[in-house]
Point group: C2
Chain length 278, copies 2
């Protein structure tokens, strides 16, 4: 990449810039943020060659632009950026929910020489902000790209190569398939973890061990970001939540009725599935 522009300097934007610099993936790195203090730090640390709080200046001459802002903000930022992208540019993002963002991109006036490809690195942290940015955040993690039949194949190939260069494994998925999948393996688990902490609060918390710490680690995540994610994936999350509620209700029935063999058989199926993950 000749010039990479990262818009937004939080955990993900900062980690992309740091990873790209550390791995020599981009000749030039530009960073756009409204936070002047963070921009100065990014420049002083050598993470960025060009820093600006002005979106259109940051987009000039960029070959690859990645929007790293909260998922709810991506559609409007994308529409603002669209007319200012350089010829041949690829625009992408890191939002956790894809259908709305992809639809917003496809509703922009067609420009033959530029392409949008939705992206979502399955890497994060309960920490947030540029301070938590880590050049190894994407190493050995999965990044999902969500092209549609309208997305130019060369843009998908270039973005795939970019994420692979940051150490990530890349997989392609349709936006709606992506949103239903992450509702189940990311959004619901976050909501469940926040719920476990709520129920665990009080004197019980004093005896919490490693199991509780692991199970609820993601509940230390910033609630604003996650409310934004839940809001943008409302229907898929409600579907996953309903299935979770039904599963736990069934098990609650087994416990109340002392049907221990049925409970054990259900847990055995879950344990077998879980053991396949590392």
């Amino acid at each position: 990449v000749r010039r990479l522009t990262v818009v937004g300097l939080g955990l993900l934007g900062g980690s992309i810039a740091r990873a790209a610099r550390a791995r020599g993936v981009a000749r030039e790195i530009a960073v756009v943020s409204r936070n002047r203090a963070m921009l100065d730090r990014a420049r002083d640390e050598g993470v960025a060659d060009l820093v600006t709080d002005h979106l259109t200046s940051g987009l000039a001459e960029a070959e690859l632009v990645i929007l790293c802002v909260p998922v709810g903000v991506v559609p409007s930022l994308l529409r603002s950026a669209w007319p200012h992208l350089a010829r041949g540019a690829i625009l992408s993002d890191v939002g956790s929910v894809k259908a709305g963002i992809v639809a917003a991109a496809e509703s922009c006036p067609r420009r033959e020489e530029i392409a949008f490809v939705g992206g979502h690195p399955m890497a994060g942290s309960e920490r947030s902000g540029f301070d938590a940015a880590d050049p190894d955040l994407f190493r050995d993690r999965l990044t999902l790209l969500t092209p549609t039949p309208r997305t130019p194949a060369p843009a998908v190939a270039r973005l795939t190569a970019f994420w692979e260069a940051l150490g990530s494994e890349v997989r392609l998925m349709a936006p709606e398939v992506h949103d239903r999948a992450v509702a189940r393996v990311s959004h619901l688990p976050h909501l469940a973890a926040y719920g476990l902490v709520s129920v665990g609060d009080g004197e019980a918390l004093a005896v919490a061990g490693r199991g509780f710490a692991d199970t609820t680690r993601v509940a230390a995540s910033a609630e604003g970001l996650w409310t934004d994610i839940f809001r943008n994936n409302q229907s898929a999350l409600l579907e996953a939540l309903a299935e979770y509620r039904e599963t736990l209700s069934r098990w609650e029935g087994y416990i109340r009725d002392e049907d221990w063999p049925a409970l054990e058989a259900s847990l055995a199926r879950a344990r077998e599935i879980r053991e396949k993950l590392s």
Copy 2:
């Protein structure tokens, strides 16, 4: 301790024997198990000085006896062991649920010179068996002891010193308080994790990241052991589960009704609580 006898050679029994040996906490270590192959390994590895599959031989001359068998088996094993304990012996266990076990001990015929003290190290692993036994399993972990007004104070002090010598921090709790607390911070989170895996199964599982892995790690635990634990803590677990169900239902309502400020406020409270844990 002159002679420590560990009954049961799974993860916890094996880890206690290994930790006691590594830290020189007991002059002699005896191990009782029905698994001859494991006994031979424990002896060959130098973890135990005396191995036997005969309970009463293992109890002879023991100053401290710890029953490390599944929680549902503890009461009957305790009643079998009771008449054969040496004068002055302290009997304890590592069961995850305490009220039933403590009641079983207190219903044994009174023997002035011996004492039972319920114990529960809040250390475990999704792995089980002697192969997973770890001499550092208890280091910097909490061990809960559950004496009652009938428990002799010197026995509590000695058992406290024993667990501290294994690297553990010790806290005392009434058995019923213990059972309600672990229902919330251990038993419910295990059930919730098994549930998340069940809902996550399918093509979604292929995109699961570190958040899902952490949140569901405990769902790799042996379902037989956990069904036994749930069965022995039925009422406290049902209480915690009802509160969890109500919490998630309320949040599901916020999501359905798009009351995002109410959802965010609830998540903020959970995040603040979680941040206080390490």
